[in-house]
Symmetry: C2
Subunit: 103 residues, 2 copies
DNA sequence: AAAGAAGTTCTACGAACGTCGTACAATCGG
DNA sequence: CCGATTGTACGACGTTCGTAGAACTTCTTT
């Protein structure tokens, strides 16, 4: 099964905002942003089931927020920073600079 | 019935992003941003029913994106620019500067 | 008072969402 | 080859969402 990634020009703002509007996915994005290098799916542990994680990764990928690539049994995930910045300048920075777990 | 508006410190990023993740609501926000002065609900016409508009206004208000005030039979609506900028710097600008109806 | 205008509330309905468990596929290490 | 690891596919569940119509409230205007 090939992983579909939308082209930069195809990124839609409502879809991106929706992808980022879930606390779990927001946390995933924050962790991806924190580590410069691509990261395996399993290395981010929220309190949810594996299949739920798969679901969240797919939402993020189909919205164009992350890029994923199979690498053996694992899968490397990274933020599409440049693409997002090109298409929606300032958006990702604004989201990431907000207090992670706020008062 | 009193309209509840969350305090600036209570604004939550997921809620704001979710409020902005609907195309109709995004359009409302864009129109509010375009006109400096507060605007009556009915002056923004999308292709949806009145009750649907009421619903969208409520979602935006409860997320803290807009402020509403009764004024006779009409209701004035305005963007909470300052509050949003204070809580999530750059977010609203990034959202508004994206192509309104993209290719 | 009567009529109209502007929104709200209530209810309903189909669609989408977040979550999970189970079963499965693919790959790596011995 | 066998087992362990890593992640996916599928189906199910309860919840939330976006939408609408109809009845209602509130205020203005005549």
């Amino acid at each position: 099964m090939n992983l579909h990634h939308p082209d930069t020009s195809e990124l839609e703002l409502p879809a991106v905002l929706h992808a980022l509007s879930d606390p779990q996915r927001l946390e995933i994005v924050r962790e991806l942003a924190a580590s410069a290098a691509p990261v395996t799916c399993g290395s981010i542990t929220l309190g949810v089931a594996k299949s739920t994680m798969t679901h969240h990764y797919r939402v993020l990928r189909e919205a164009g927020v992350i890029r994923q690539e199979r690498r053996g049994t694992t899968k490397l995930t990274e933020l599409r920073r440049d693409d997002l910045d090109a298409r929606f300048p300032g958006l990702l920075d604004a989201v990431l600079s907000s207090s992670p777990v706020h008062a």
